[in-house]
């Protein structure tokens, strides 16, 4: 499970979501093509709603945040630069950031409301439940399984938990620098395992 051999499993992720199609569609969206945007939505809706839902947890809130994310995608499409990454990566970064911004804002608000009343310990799902996902899920689960448990926890808490690495450090009770490194090393391993290229 932790035996690492970088050459062993370097294979591309099956492009279930049509990565190149997305790049082309987004270029059309950038010119105000609403039909292309609808197609873009059809190809990315499950991914973006899924990741937002994973972070915010509340389905009604997830719907709202996903809508905001799509509005961002529409507005900012003219600035999408393929040289900096794929449309899929760009869109999921936008949606994920929308989600974490929302939970952090909520967190700050409820922290204020609670005033100095004792804060409830933060709860989190220890590992991702990927029962709902499709073809990529198996690959991703395998790749996650190959991380050290410490790396996996750090990546999962940060990404799906929507926590900052500082928060992750508190949750896991390890120094911030350690979490920073675990996230980075974990992502490097995932990248290599999944054969990801921008």
């Amino acid at each position: 499970m932790t035996g690492m051999d970088p050459a062993r499993r370097l294979r591309p992720v099956p492009d279930a979501l049509g990565g190149e199609d997305l790049n082309i569609l987004l270029a059309l969206v950038a010119r105000g093509d609403e039909a292309a945007f609808a197609q873009f939505y059809d190809l990315t809706g499950r991914m973006l709603f899924g990741v937002v839902l994973r972070v915010v947890r509340n389905p009604a809130l997830a719907e709202e945040v996903t809508q905001e994310a799509y509005l961002d995608i529409w507005r900012l499409a003219p600035r999408f630069d393929r040289r900096r990454g794929s449309a899929r990566s760009w869109a999921s970064t936008i949606a994920h950031r929308r989600a974490v911004d929302r939970v952090r804002a909520e967190q700050a608000r409820s922290a204020r409301e609670e005033d100095d009343a004792q804060r409830s310990p933060q709860r989190y799902q220890p590992l991702v439940d990927m029962a709902d996902s499709r073809i990529d899920a198996t690959l991703v689960r395998e790749a996650l399984d190959e991380l050290s448990p410490a790396q996996r926890d750090a990546v999962v808490l940060a990404y799906f938990g929507g926590h900052t690495y500082r928060e992750v450090a508190v949750l896991l009770d390890v120094p911030e620098g350690t979490i920073k490194t675990r996230i980075r090393d974990g992502l490097i391993r995932l990248r290599d395992r999944l054969g990801v290229t921008p």
Binding site: A30, E34, F37, A38, D42, G45, R46, M47, F49, G50, V51, L53, R54, T66, Q67, Y70, L71, D72, W74, R75, L76, R79, D81, R83, R84, G85, S86, S89, A91, S92, T93, I94, H96, R97, V100, V128, M130, D132, S133, R134, A137, L139, V155, A158, Y159, T164, Y165, R166, V168, K180, I183, R184, D185, L187, I188, L190, R191, V196, T197, P198
Partner: protein, 272 residues
């Protein structure tokens, strides 16, 4: 967190949106100068996107109609921003080779916002800089002046020397506070520019002041960096491929590393 290596380690956390706002901003500034961090961020964001696909879940069917309805009523942003929207989440644009140029004035006008996107400033010269600073213990105002004069004297004797005074671009509402100015002495012939100032605010670790030469088309070219010592600056910067004249000068605060596009806000500016 003053050091580029240290910042480089944040690429993973950045790609997972796991930085505090302050650190995010710091890192984005660093990103503009660091090709290797840009590469890491791109790959890590791509990796995160695969994680996202694994979390896929079917949204309520009403969402599609809502989204499509909303975009019809929403204007798209310009593809050529002077300043990136805070919501442009994928990080700063790497230098694109300088095919276009940022307009300095639009940058100056956008003081206070986040990041300059593109790349666009052509980086003609990054001059080596040096500070001639005597033992600070024997500095009083007059000596300070004298030293400044001495230091920049050689430049002032150049037949083509031009002196420009830069003013704080945003004095805020503290109008009763004496405004700090920066004097810039430029000699095209010598390919040098002198920077003299007193009472400058100190800068944090990890950043310095940077001087920009503004040309007639309002494009800014990086000249070099300087840091005040006890508020004083007296430095000479080399200007490679110096133009005949400068339309103006600007001063920003920039993180360490290669000088990329200027980072708002513009702290001082003046026209020759």
């Amino acid at each position: 967190m003053s050091d580029a290596t240290e910042l480089h380690l944040l690429a993973g956390a950045y790609a997972l949106n796991a930085l505090d706002p302050d650190e995010r901003e710091l890192f984005e500034a660093h990103l503009q100068d660091s090709r290797s961090s840009q590469q890491d961020v791109a790959e890590f964001q791509e990796t995160a996107a695969v994680l996202a696909t694994a979390a896929a879940a079917t949204p309520p069917s009403s969402l599609r109609a809502d989204v499509l309805d909303e975009i019809r009523r929403t204007r798209q942003q310009s593809p050529l921003p002077a300043v990136a929207s805070a919501a442009a989440t994928t990080g700063p644009t790497p230098n694109a080779g300088g095919s276009s140029r940022d307009r300095w004035r639009s940058l100056a006008a956008a003081a206070g916002t986040t990041l300059v996107t593109a790349a666009a400033v052509v980086l003609v010269a990054v001059g080596a800089w040096y500070v001639t600073r005597p033992d600070p213990s024997d500095i009083d105002d007059s000596i300070k002046e004298a030293e400044n004069v001495e230091n920049v004297d050689a430049l002032l004797t150049a037949p083509d020397a031009v002196v420009t005074t830069l003013h704080a671009s945003d004095a805020g509402d503290a109008s009763d506070v004496p405004t700090t100015t920066i004097k810039v002495v430029f000699s095209s012939e010598r390919g040098q520019v002198g920077v003299v100032a007193g009472d400058l605010d100190a800068v944090d670790d990890g950043v310095t002041y940077a001087l920009w030469l503004i040309d007639d088309s309002d494009a800014a070219t990086a000249v070099g960096r300087f840091v005040p010592h006890n508020g004083d600056v007296s430095v000479i910067l080399d200007v490679n491929d110096a133009p005949d004249h400068a339309a103006g000068w600007g001063v920003t605060v920039e993180p360490h590393g290669e000088l990329g596009p200027p980072t708002p806000p513009v702290h001082f500016t003046g026209t020759s």
